[in-house]
Symmetry: C2
């Protein structure tokens, strides 16, 4: 298994990597990410897993139980495209560690712009290596076990995070998603084959009754607890908000300072206000607020022109829906006040807002309990995941985190040690065995 993991990790290392920064550019439906998708299909074939894809580019590689065993019937999974109307899911429910229906595990292969190697791929590679390990251990599944790869988890190209899992779960309709456009104006409807499927639906999640996602931790909760593995309790509510600041383009040299309507100033003050608001709200050690302007687009973006428009995207996250709404409202209010002073205008659009996700408590406890060395800690996260989408859609879901020594993520510096990664594979194999294992 160690060799399998290391070989797969070496396969992925060069794909979409920037020689300049050492970071990854694996945006959906572009060459690096498509290469990873093809690589995944090869890995499935090499293991005798059955590959299922949907029209959105999501993939599942299925490991079927032996014919005649419990749960071996495959006809509960409808062939792709046969599902009509609202998304149906047989056997789904808050059944915790229920062992009927299919068990899915996996993550994503896309990255943020200039991202790290672990966010996404660690969950996919670990899932494949966990199946290898289970087979080495002689585990025979009592239910179907699938390894999933959901597209555009980061939202780095089309702006909507967890796009693939949202579409697969019916949380976002194809009719609205097809109009999403990337930075070059390319519509999602023109790169995804969703239109080819009647009603645009996906049958990948039909019959799936449990989902487990392994992911590199994106903070230092496990470092603080001196644990290599943790289990997620919840995902904070979070949202992306587009702030469009408009003013009047003019000559940067000849326009007197008092004659300007410069949206860069309004943007700058709002970005500072967002940071201050989140820091102030988190003061006293509570640390329950995040507000970030990490993406900006300026028109015309010329050195010698006062801009006509500055667009900034606010990423905001809080422990509760109410505090998130309050935080965003406070930032918006300060933006409007400054806009009045600058003679500019501000329009705020919520591009996506996700409520809190409380993962299945019974399942989390069942996954975390009774390991050599003690229970795995159960910790919250501020990062969105496909697991949150599937959980909200009614599929009992658990997340495993692998320790990240610095906590850095969405950066070339993101990391996890090889020993911790291998502990992660073993932990995932244990978890899958608990949920779907039988003796060989």
């Amino acid at each position: 298994m160690v060799d399998d993991f290391e070989r797969m990790w070496a396969d992925l290392a060069p794909v979409g990597r920037s020689a300049a920064s050492g970071g990854y550019f694996r945006q959906p439906f572009l060459s690096a990410e498509r290469e990873l998708s093809a690589w995944f299909a090869e890995q499935a074939a090499a293991r005798g897993l059955t590959l299922q894809s949907d029209a959105y580019g999501n993939q599942v590689a299925w490991w079927d139980p032996p014919a005649g065993s419990a749960g071996s019937s495959t006809d509960e999974v409808a062939p792709d495209g046969a599902s009509k109307g609202p998304h149906r899911r047989s056997g789904a429910g808050r059944s915790g560690a229920g062992r009927s229906g299919a068990l899915l595990t996996g993550s994503h292969l896309d990255s943020v712009l200039d991202g790290g190697a672990y966010d996404g791929p660690l969950g996919v590679v670990s899932a494949l290596a966990a199946i290898d390990l289970m087979r080495e251990r002689g585990v025979v599944p009592t239910r179907r076990v699938g390894v999933s790869v959901f597209v555009e988890e980061e939202g780095s190209r089309f702006g909507l995070a967890c796009l693939g899992s949202r579409l697969a779960a019916g949380a976002t309709t194809w009719e609205s998603a097809r109009e999403l456009a990337d930075r070059d104006g390319v519509r999602l409807g023109d790169v995804m084959a969703g239109d080819a499927v009647s009603g645009g639906s996906s049958s990948l999640l039909e019959g799936v009754t449990t989902f487990v996602e392994l992911h590199v931790e994106q903070g230092r909760a496990l470092v603080d607890r001196n644990a290599a593995i943790g289990v997620a309790s919840e995902i904070w509510p979070h949202g992306r908000y587009r702030f469009d600041f408009t003013g009047t383009a003019n000559h940067a040299g000849t326009t007197a300072m008092q004659d300007r309507r410069d949206p860069m100033l309004t943007y700058a003050m709002t970005a500072l206000a967002a940071n201050k608001q989140a820091r102030t709200a988190s003061a006293g050690g509570a640390d329950l607020h995040r507000a970030t302007f990490g993406r900006v687009d300026v028109a015309p973006n010329g050195t010698n022109a006062v801009p006509s428009r500055v667009t900034g995207w606010l990423d905001a996250r809080c422990a509760t829906d109410a505090s998130l709404a309050e935080l965003v409202a406070a930032i918006e209010r300060q933006g409007h006040q400054r806009a009045e002073r600058d003679g500019t205008a501000l329009t705020v659009t919520a591009e996506s807002v996700s409520g809190p996700v409380g993962f299945d408590g019974d399942l989390a406890r069942a996954v975390a309990a009774d390991h050599a060395g003690g229970d795995w800690p159960i910790v919250p996260t501020q990062a969105g995941h496909d697991a949150g989408i599937l959980s909200t859609a009614g599929i009992p879901t658990a997340m495993l985190f692998v320790r990240n020594p610095t906590g850095v993520s969405h950066s070339p510096d993101e990391s996890a040690s090889m020993p911790d990664c291998l502990v992660g594979v073993s932990a995932l194999a244990d978890t899958l065995s608990r949920l779907a294992g039988g003796a060989g």
Copy 2:
């Protein structure tokens, strides 16, 4: 002449125009600007003017005096590429309204990103129309008269304003310019044919002893003076400075506010400080300072990532060299202070700094005096121009401004009325006739 002007203006109207904004994208050596360059060659041919181009893409259309008349010898203009070593200019000097050597007029055809219709093209179209008008009036030139088009005046692609005139005048060497790169990393050396010329020099300015540039005003000095035409006294010192703010990329959701090293904050504070510094320094009605951050580049520029780097470009202008240096130093100092607080780093690079340009006073007075309706006002400008480069290179130079009702420039809203434009053509024809005219 009215018809000529309006026809030429209509020719140019659609070229490189954005249907979305109504603004122009005429970046050097890209399709729209190349179309304008070809258009200029056609206009020259249609008028029987002799087109001369240099290896940098600069063009001059020459109107030669009749054979045998004073100044009709063309052999003082060396064929392109024949000039070796340092740039030579015979007859150049502070001769004011001297009438030996060649007289050049013209401007540029490139635009800022999303710019207006007038900045540049008005000077070229007016120069061609002025020749038409002089011919209608029976003026015969006593010296060579050339209409010039200098490339990349705005610096919107390669970052160095007045690039074509700098190269032609020897103010910038080809060895340094060839390494300039556009936003996509394309090197100037790969788009300009400069390498093809021995030593990379230009002979376009050989023998030129006077330059006159007509330009739309980029402020409201003429509106305030109720004048359609003005003459430039000076150009303020100005510069472009690249501010590189570096921090640490990280996850926007999981990274606690106090654990960040976010260069967006340092940038935002510095942009606000620049504005405040210029406003404060200009307070009390002096209005002698400008500071603008109009261009920003962020890495990785993702919504859910704290940036690793934010680069902002400062455009700064002041009435004197000393006050410009003081202004930039004050902004830089505040940026460094904030960087210390944010745990980020700031590096400032002066990409170009131009000292003050005092245009030839004798020439300005000679051009401005004794018109029907009184003398034209003589006013300063904060905008850089090719005229500033040629003046600094020792060629007596004058600028005519055409009134701009709103003062807006570097914007789709830039404008001049058609009557004022036609007054401009007539004024330029009068000026050229004073400097080069004889009776037919």
